[in-house]
Amino acid sequence: MKNNEIMIQVRDLKKEFKKAVKEPGLKGSFKALFKPKYDVVKAVDGISFDVPKGEIIGFIGPNGAGKSTVIKMLTGILTPTSGTCTIGGKIPTQNRKSYVKEIGVVFGQRTQLWWDLALRETYMVLKEIYEIPEEDYKKRMEFLNEVLELDSFITSPVRTLSLGQRMRADIAAALLHNPKVLFLDEPTIGLDVVVKDNIRKAIQKINAESGTTVILTTHDLEDIELLCKRIVMIDKGKKVFDGELSELRHRYGQMRELAFELKDAEDISLLEYDKNFNLSADDLSVEVNSAAVKVRFNSDIASVEDMLSYTLSKVHVKDINVKDADIEEIIRRLYIGGGDIYETSVTDI
């Protein structure tokens, strides 16, 4: 990985927003009008990372972590307060126009297509905007058609497309000029399982065939698991994890999930995992939904065998199974876990 050409370089990127502080009520509003007070909010606080050419990188973090702000700086929309980001050596604040030619952007919640026009027209306009030669355009359209199956709705007006069709169309629109980097912000939001799957496959294919570097932000961790080898996680404007997904799983993968259904729902009071195994809140969570119980626990502290035999000795169950920690569980622990577990996981490039 290290021998590869670096596509994206982000160095000590910071973005501060000035936020007006208002006291509550009408009086406060008046006060703020004449004597505005400002708080400086550090939305992004010194983030650095590199992305090699051709990599699909998952960019994750809880809501309000600063993900969008980073993406918006990387796509030339926001001007950083300090720090730099370069794509193929180009800097957005110096020459936005030539910079954005290198990138394609899809915002899942906001379409970039011309709402009232037939889809085909959108591509014709983009062809002119990006000055794509006729021949390249035809080839590219053919390729995108094949990967994203646009044929069936390319003549329909954009407003009549289904969400899945629209997303495919949006991805095609972002790729028409064959950008070096594709930014996908929540590309599977609101889509059904089959469509999600198609879109993921298309992203993989585009990455493999065109060598497009992909930066993916998502809350759907299945996206991450299926597409990304590496993830960068940020929280409160700081990078908290940067490394391979397998590393994350290895490091925090001791979590197991024990799921069972009680014959008698009252029996739940008999189970005292925390006292019996001496598990802290970080290492144990119990979810009860009438008779169905889900226990997540750290298998380094309490072995699966012990947990099973303890459970079976205390209560009667209809059904029981043990699951491996999925990535969702790991990330949930990271999101709510605060700084402690982060510290050890920060790998510097």
Binding site: G76, T79, D116, L117, V125, P157
Partner: protein, 275 residues
């Protein structure tokens, strides 16, 4: 530049296609506009039905006066640069009302073309053709109704300079809209500021001499709408105020530069919106 002209024509074509999709909307828009103009002209007619002419007096002596048809001519002329600006560059209104506030401006920044130009040309406002046509119609009607000796004075030496200055008149409108729209980069919304500035345009449809010094100065040099209406119109009619033509060019260029400066400053302050 050529590429931008080509792009602009493509956008216009796309908008015309859109128009075909929403015929009723267009028709309603056009009818609404025509009614608005009709009411304004009707009001002018009422005023002039009770007075013979609009007079400017100093200490009770009439210094200057304008007939109904002259006022109509000025009024009609004012609609032409305004209509052309409206026709091509209407989208700037959206900037102050929702494009920036909702974060929709993101879209314009992810394309490899000048963001100002992109906003400017994305919408082609066909409704404005009504404004333009009403303007031309008023010019023709008022000219035909004026005494022959007045009309005889309108020669090429008056028409050509005004035609040359016309693009600069349009630029005054576009620049004022640009500058006020760009305020939204800081304040999120500035549509009302644009609207407020635009309202002063109504003063410029009448002979500016009738106003006091403050209003006169404001609509000549600060929000120089008088340069887009009264001055060129009165030059056409009477050959008066020759000085206003070079001043129009100068002020419009300064205003344009200023609006671009504010726009580019604003781009750096743009904060987008949470998604």
């Amino acid at each position: 530049m050529r590429r931008y002209l080509k792009l602009h024509s493509i956008f216009i074509k796309q908008d015309l296609k859109k128009l075909m999709e929403y015929k009723v909307d267009f028709l309603l828009g056009a009818v609404g506009f025509l009614m608005e103009q009709a009411v304004q002209i009707f009001c002018l007619g009422i005023i002039f039905s009770t007075i013979p002419a609009l007079c400017y007096t100093v200490n009770g002596t009439v210094v200057d006066s304008w007939s109904f048809h002259e006022v109509l001519f000025i009024y009609g002329f004012s609609l032409i640069p305004k209509g052309i600006d409206h026709l091509f560059f209407d989208n700037l209104w959206g900037m102050g009302y929702w494009i920036v506030d909702k974060g929709d401006f993101d879209k314009y920044l992810t394309r490899p073309i000048n963001s100002w130009f992109y906003v400017l040309c994305e919408k082609f406002c066909v409704d404005a053709l009504g404004e333009f046509i009403v303007g031309i119609a008023l010019l023709i009607y008022s000219t035909l109704s004026m005494p022959a000796e007045v009309v005889a004075d309108i020669n090429w030496w008056r028409v050509i300079p005004v035609a040359l200055v016309l693009p600069f008149c349009i630029m005054i409108f576009t620049s004022i809209k640009t500058a006020t729209a760009a305020i939204s980069f800081w304040t999120k919304r500035s549509g009302h500021i644009t609207h407020m500035c635009y309202m002063t345009n109504d003063f410029a449809k009448y002979p500016v001499k009738i106003y006091n010094t403050v209003v006169k100065t404001a609509i000549t040099y600060i929000l120089p709408f008088a340069l887009t209406a009264y001055y060129p119109a009165i030059f056409l009619l009477r050959g008066e105020s020759v000085w206003s033509l070079p001043v129009t060019v100068l002020i419009s260029v300064v205003l344009f530069g200023l609006s671009q400066f504010i726009w580019h400053k604003g781009l750096r302050a743009y904060e987008s919106a949470g998604s």
